[in-house]
Symmetry: C2
Subunit: 258 residues, 2 copies
């Protein structure tokens, strides 16, 4: 491998064959040497889950021609990053990119996202990391309009790095390229899923439930990711793995100790 080009680790949560990661691999090959370590099956909604009590299988795969080295892994997106760093990469990567996810990871969706967990795991490993998502769930989603922006932000991060402990959560609206207004640096909107549970009965007579719902944004701010996406911007949220609510520490210290 030519060590003069940056080494880029590509991961996702939709699985190694998903159109989103195929697009990302193709783009990253134009700016670096690419190693792919991605799940061998869809892992949407897996968040930062790791495999503790089962063995992991890893297979070298060739899904298309080119210089990239690709592995399909039986684990979660976070497992993929851990395996990459500890077993599969021959040197520390310069960049870790995750996605392009099929569907939004804006607002509190970041918590459930395997795509963003992989990016956070990259940040924990000390590597500048970015999760990309397109607001289109379909398998035949059109990623072409986002290509220029994905490349631009990846190059920017390669050049400037990122603050320690921080990765980027990039969401791209489903719009023709000419309607995209560029990037907006934002905060995570205060929204949540209002779930609905549908009760059904299996052919064997057993009751089961489906979890579904709709996402509701309670946040009126014009500095949020949802605002940006609704106004034709690509949202860029710096995301950290320090979950401490620092502002609450003083308040809690007023409680009696015992």
């Amino acid at each position: 491998m030519n060590t003069e080009r940056p080494l880029i680790l590509v991961v996702n949560d939709d699985g190694v064959t998903a159109p989103g990661i195929r697009t990302l691999i193709r783009l990253m090959k134009t700016i670096g040497d690419v190693v792919v370590v991605a799940p061998n099956s869809p892992q949407s909604g897996m968040s930062h889950a790791i495999t503790l009590e089962a063995p992991l299988y890893v297979e070298r795969v060739v899904l298309e021609s080119g210089s990239q080295i690709e592995y399909a892994c039986s684990g979660t997106p976070a497992d993929c990053v851990k395996l990459a760093f500890n077993k599969l990469l021959t040197r520390k990567p310069d960049l870790c990119v995750s996605g392009i996810n099929h569907g939004s990871n804006s607002s509190t969706n970041v918590l459930y996202s395997g795509t963003m967990a992989a990016a956070l795991e990259g940040a924990i490993k000390g590597i500048p990391s970015i999760g990309f998502s397109l607001l289109d769930h379909s398998q035949d989603a059109d990623f072409s309009q986002s290509e220029e922006f994905v490349l631009k932000i990846a190059k920017q991060v390669l050049k400037n790095g990122l603050p320690s402990g921080v990765c980027l959560n990039v969401n791209i609206p489903k719009l023709p390229k000419e309607e995209l207004k560029g990037f907006k640096i934002c905060r995570q909107a205060d929204g949540k899923w209002q779930e609905d549970i549908e009760e059904r009965t299996s052919p064997l007579g057993k009751i089961y439930y489906w979890l579904f719902g709709s996402f509701v944004n309670f946040d009126k701010g014009n500095d949020t990711d949802i605002w940006a996406l609704e106004n034709n911007y690509i949202s860029v949220v710096p995301v950290q793995f320090d979950l401490t609510a620092h502002d609450s520490i003083q308040q809690l210290k007023t409680w009696n100790n015992g």
Copy 2:
């Protein structure tokens, strides 16, 4: 159900039969009406994973005598909280408690923890929520020394509530009660797993990997959860689900837009 007593939702990630949740149920019954919605199998390391493409099964179970109502669920800890709120609880709970986890959830372990994901999900639902963990992985861990402290903090949260968007991550050292010095309000320590990957060959000749490792604390601060635990305190970290790195927003805005 007597509506004058607080309603307490109890959840965990080790599964409904784990000694940790049995202790927590017994304690919570002394201060409220208890509904348990917990996984029917161990879900350690499941983080905030949710079940998107599979049905969920829920079963009413009676594991010991008492007034508590208990459900075992086929999903993740976060699924359990969602099912509780949308299907199983007849009114909004006053408190959501998760655990007592068998093993530490201090520092960045909070990211991988199903126990803490359940507490965060409670906070997303707007309910004061606490995750409890004892620094002892064993199935015959002794939870008795922590009982007084668990009750105390649960009562405190019932009385005072918690800041919006914040839950508590409470970790208890494995020590005799007389050596516990009380609570310390802290921040999440900057530590991480240094993984090791062990390669093995299955009886069928297929190579597989085990993920393991050791946790390393890089944080020299005496205001962290790991410092507190190493100094015989129960650590209490306020944890939030807004992952925005607010301090990095201005810095990123200096990048060229395009």
